[in-house]
């Protein structure tokens, strides 16, 4: 294959910690192969002189948090055949979206920046990218997982259809034969959280904090009741459930509360 007929890929970062792009850079065993198998046109965290043309696949990390980012996102959507939301901030809005929609954004912004300033690009309350454009695939994670990422990239660059992974953290935690933290009445939201992390935190005897965002099949109502029965105040449970699900998780909490 020559460089011209290889699939054209762009990797972009909006507002976030850059952990998903970093994870790709940190795939020491795969990064050279990736640059060999695909034509990486734009990946500014790793390389200078990006080529901004039409793309086969655009991977987008980060939430949309400024007006300029909306414009850039629309422009990427126009020239990408396939657009992938990469990582929790792009999929759900990330931790910066934990209060999105509560009406307190302006107040928080003023508290950090003070009064009477005009920004060069208007700051916006953090939202996931599907608040503004159609997304073809979601690659969740905080950060994304290497096996899932390379399975997705391989399928997309070879024209195969990626498979969904609709399993909660608990599924992986059981496979890892961990003792369930809930048996010891310890706070854990593995049942409500999308898996793929390999139950990274319960493997270390620490609770799942929900960083991959909501698992659609999670029984939110029953799990909140279970945590309450441990003596954890409802206010604290709700606060902790909302850490990484942005405003998308509200729907699940409300449905579960019925």
């Amino acid at each position: 294959m020559t460089a011209t007929d290889k699939p054209k890929i762009g990797i972009y970062g909006f507002t976030g910690c850059a952990g998903d792009q970093l994870l790709i850079i940190h795939t020491e065993d795969e990064i050279l192969n990736l640059f060999g198998a695909a034509n990486i046109q734009s990946f500014v965290m790793a390389s200078s002189n990006p080529i901004e043309e039409n793309l086969d696949v655009a991977f987008i990390e980060g939430s949309i948090s400024t007006k300029e980012e909306i414009e850039h996102l629309h422009e990427l959507r126009k020239r990408a055949k396939i657009l992938v939301a990469m990582g929790n901030c792009a999929v759900n809005g990330g931790p910066q979206a934990m209060y999105t929609g509560d009406g307190g954004y302006e107040k928080r912004l003023k508290k950090v920046y003070g009064e009477g300033v005009k920004f060069m690009t208007d700051p916006l309350e953090a939202k996931p990218i599907d608040a503004y454009v159609d997304v073809d695939y979601y690659l969740p994670g905080c950060p994304i997982s290497q096996p899932q990422t390379f399975a997705l990239i391989s399928r997309l660059i070879h024209g195969a259809i990626p498979e969904p992974y609709p399993h909660p953290v608990c599924h992986e935690c059981k496979l890892n034969e961990n003792r369930c933290l809930l048996l010891d009445e310890t706070f854990c939201i593995g049942p409500l959280t999308l898996g793929g992390c390999g139950s990274a935190c319960p493997n270390h005897d620490v609770s799942c904090v929900g960083c991959w965002g909501p698992n659609e099949d999670g029984n939110f109502g029953q799990h909140i009741k279970l945590l309450e029965s441990f003596g954890i105040p409802k206010e604290e449970i709700m606060r902790r459930i909302r850490g990484f699900g942005g405003s998308k998780i509200i729907k699940f909490i409300e449905d579960g509360g019925k």
Partner: protein, 430 residues
């Protein structure tokens, strides 16, 4: 008519996060330099208010992926002071091991993958592989080793939750520690070879100017990456609790930014500051590297930050070997518990790119106020000052070829972390 020219470099490549540089030239003189932060604000200091210390620890490392464990560590140091937690010596050693891992991960990423392509004339490190295959392969090994320690101690390569208030969820086995020590010994040779590689590079001098340096003073007589005292290149020492009087925030008309200055002037933080202020404390091969590389030019030239990071790679590999030896002879660690529900604490560590401050006020088990000052917030002014001096020198000598690259190299040398400084958005006053 004055002649006016504008150089805009956007996006600034091979740095973490989304930024740019704008330089304006009027009548062959630099009239304006702006290092621009183009990411949206995330308001982390407000997000953690009302939360418990443990919840804070889950959230704040998300400020930055590259130095996520430095954020965790600074938060731990601040929060543990606030709620009266005193960890045992074994836990302290494990935290040092964790921090060494992050230094190697971050420094190796920066030296070989973000900075070195400039010096060798490539767009990226992968393109270097044809001619410098051995260096790229070994650099990947070194980075992987740093990541392995971060995974082992952090619980995951990026954003693990294993470090908790008072200790760790789970600790590595003696076998795993012994394996780490063996790998550190093997990699030391490459880290030393890197000292020779960087020592042979020609370093441009157009930007050279005097600046100030700031970093933590490690406890005892050792080199290290944390402390409760800030030291500055004027010889002063400041308790970290006074950080607000040391690092003054500055607001200018073209750019509203929580930018730090010391004594009303820009300053440098990071490996260069640490090596220049604490380098006399280095031992072993790291001391030999220090003696081999450090010259008077280091005080005036930020490009030597790359070299200082290379010295710290050697120091951290030797540090891992020594720390593992101590851990193998240590008693088991216990998880220490809070002794109070309310208090104030300032935690400071050296993140790979410089001094990182997390300050907390906790009342009845919940955070009521938080303040984070990141290294990138501290050194943006210094980058601008060096770009200005460099630009003036290059204009005076009419060396305008590749002037953008010269500016980018200055910015990249600091290893800026734009995610960390995302509450520094360029703004214009009405």
């Amino acid at each position: 008519m004055p002649s006016k020219k504008k150089i805009t470099i956007e996006p600034l490549a091979r740095v973490e996060g989304h930024g740019g540089i704008k330089v304006e030239i009027t009548d062959n003189k630099i009239s304006n330099v702006e290092v621009r932060i183009l990411e949206g604000p995330r308001l982390f200091e407000e997000l953690v208010v009302g939360k418990t210390p443990q919840e804070d620890l889950n959230i704040v490392p998300r400020i930055c992926a590259i130095c996520n464990l430095s954020h965790k560590y600074a938060a731990l140091r601040g929060l543990e002071k606030a709620v009266g937690v005193s960890v045992d010596s074994t836990t302290k050693l494990f935290r040092e091991l964790m921090h060494h891992g992050e230094m190697i991960e971050s420094h190796s990423l920066h030296i070989y993958f973000l900075a070195l392509p400039d010096f060798l004339g490539y767009d990226n490190a992968v393109a270097m592989a044809d001619k410098y295959g051995d260096t790229v392969t070994k650099a990947l090994q070194l980075k992987k080793f740093g990541n392995k320690i971060m995974r082992m101690m952090g619980g995951r390569m990026i954003h693990g939750e294993n470090p908790i208030i008072g200790g760790f969820g789970k600790l590595p086995t003696k076998e795993a520690l012994t394996e780490i020590k063996g790998e550190a010994l093997e990699l030391l040779e490459f880290a030393i070879a890197t000292i020779n590689l960087l020592g042979g590079l020609e370093i441009p001098d157009h930007m050279e100017r005097e600046t100030q340096f700031l970093c933590c003073k490690p406890p005892g007589e050792e080199y290290g990456y944390y402390g409760d005292i800030l030291i500055t290149s004027d010889g002063e020492e400041h308790p970290v609790e006074n950080y607000k009087n040391v690092i003054k925030e500055r607001v200018v008309s073209h750019s509203f930014a929580k930018r730090g200055q010391y004594n009303g002037k820009p300053f440098t933080v990071g490996a260069l500051a640490r090596v220049l202020l604490n380098g006399k404390r280095l031992k072993g091969k790291a001391k030999e590297a220090y003696d081999q590389l450090v010259t008077d030019r280091w005080y005036r030239n930020p490009l030597f930050n790359n070299h200082a990071q290379a010295i710290e790679q050697v120091y951290s590999l030797e540090g891992i070997i020594e720390t593992v030896n101590q851990l193998l002879a240590s008693e088991d660690a216990e998880i220490a518990q809070p002794t109070q529900e309310s208090g104030i604490g300032t935690g400071v560590v050296e993140a790979p790119r410089g001094t990182l401050i997390h300050h907390y006020e906790v009342k009845d088990g919940k955070i009521t106020a938080a303040d984070f000052i990141t290294p990138t917030a501290m050194f943006l002014d210094d980058i601008e000052a060096f770009i200005r001096t460099g630009g003036e020198q290059l204009l005076a000598k009419n060396q305008l070829d590749n002037i953008e690259l010269q500016f980018e190299m200055i910015a990249r040398a600091y290893d800026p972390c734009i995610s960390c400084s995302a509450h520094i958005v360029e703004v214009v006053f009405k």
